[in-house]
């Protein structure tokens, strides 16, 4: 027997209103059902006008981030049963402009991502016929956690610094920069340092640490930023004491 739970869903209809409102729906649920299944039930059976993003339904595409009872969550990996008896509040991710209902604009992140050069930078390319760049499992493990980011934006949503200063380059972009810096095939860390050592780069972060807590993929962006600060500090010390570059 399916139980029922009430969903309070934030609505924003830009052509009709200038503020968000809440609509309430009741949906049946079983223990397998994710919050996203609840939204799909609403859209398919109760109200076709509800707008939200989703795709893979397996926690890997990063589309379905929303604020569930105040916390940023992947709705396909958050289960209705965990919020029984409800009601449950579903809102768009915080800190982003809302386009419509539960859909936010992440264009800002997409532009920042390009700035940190998230690709392998090398002075000389090896020909394909030359085979692979060697990388031991230990070297792989160095950057692997930072390569797990699915760009779901939960960390930006949890970061009060980003909320107060949208110029802050933010957790995931820095983690991805670090992903390439720590890859032994890459030679671009100096290029990336220019962007990251700006005021809105790593130094914008005052280590709230929430990004790491909400990250569904255990990326630890806060750790990436802290590590980066240490590297940057050591670099500038070196530059100070050995200006000609020892």
């Amino acid at each position: 027997m399916a139980q029922r739970i009430r969903l309070q869903i934030a609505r924003y209809r830009p052509e009709q209103e200038s503020e968000a409102t809440f609509d309430e729906y009741e949906v049946p649920y079983t223990k397998e059902m994710a919050v996203l299944d609840g939204l799909n039930f609403v859209k398919d059976r109760l109200d076709g006008t509800l707008a939200y993003r989703w795709s893979c339904r397996m926690g890997i595409c990063g589309s379905c981030g929303m604020t569930v009872n105040g916390e940023p969550k992947l709705t396909c990996a958050t289960f209705l049963g965990d919020y029984a008896p409800g009601p449950l509040r579903v809102e768009p991710l915080r800190n982003f402009p809302v386009i419509r209902d539960l859909i936010v604009d992440i264009g800002d992140f997409m532009r920042k991502l390009v700035r940190v050069k998230p690709w392998i930078v090398r002075s000389a390319e090896k020909p394909i016929a030359g085979g692979e760049y060697l990388q031991t499992p230990e070297q792989l493990e160095e950057y692997k956690p930072f390569s797990m980011c699915i760009n779901c934006m939960l960390c930006y949503s949890a970061c009060p610094i980003y909320g107060l200063d949208p110029k802050f380059i933010g957790p995931a972009a820095i983690a991805l920069a670090q992903r390439y810096n720590l890859d032994n095939r890459d030679e671009g860390s100096a290029d990336r340092m220019e962007v990251l050592s700006e005021h809105e780069g790593i130094w914008g972060c005052t280590f709230v640490g929430e990004c790491t807590k909400v990250c569904p993929k255990h990326v630890d962006p806060a750790g990436a930023i802290q590590r980066y600060k240490l590297t940057a500090a050591i670099d500038s010390m070196k530059a100070f004491f050995a200006p000609r570059g020892a």
Binding site: D105, G107, R111, E210, A222
Partner: protein, 140 residues
């Protein structure tokens, strides 16, 4: 190099809802409150430095000034401020240490040293330094 751009990208669409962060955002979550407290604690760290400087100045000026400084320090107001300061400085130190293992990846040979070990190392360091200071103070 020319960067990729998105044609359909509208950085500031007038219809989008831009919600302002509430002035009381730091009350939303315990973690945010802790963060604000830690940020606030820097005022006390600052005061602590000023206090030390005053102590130094008094010492240099001579015994009388030092006596006066001690008497002033014993007034309830200054005492209370200093007790609160101690609390915040300890809080600051602890949160700082907590962050340390995330910033420092220590490697012994091939294996990464466990974050807890790095944290413990920091505390051990703290104890050692405190012991040395205590030794000089009490020994002298």
């Amino acid at each position: 190099m020319e960067q990729t751009h998105t044609y359909g990208d509208t950085p500031y669409h007038p219809r989008w809802l831009r919600r302002r962060v509430s002035t009381y955002w730091w009350l939303w979550k315990p973690a945010y409150l802790r963060f604000i407290l830690r940020e606030g604690s820097c005022m006390f760290v600052g005061w602590f430095t000023v206090y030390l400087l005053l102590l130094l100045a008094a010492l240099l000026e001579g015994p009388l000034a030092y006596e006066l400084f001690l008497a002033w320090s014993a007034t309830p107001a200054v005492l209370i401020v200093n007790v609160v300061t101690l609390g915040f400085v300890v809080f600051h130190a602890i949160t700082f240490f907590q962050a340390a293992p995330q910033a420092m990846v220590v490697r012994l040979g091939r294996a990464r040293v466990a974050p807890q070990t790095v944290l413990l190392g920091h505390y051990a360091g703290w104890v050692v330094v405190s012991a040395v200071v205590a030794f000089f103070l009490l020994g002298a």
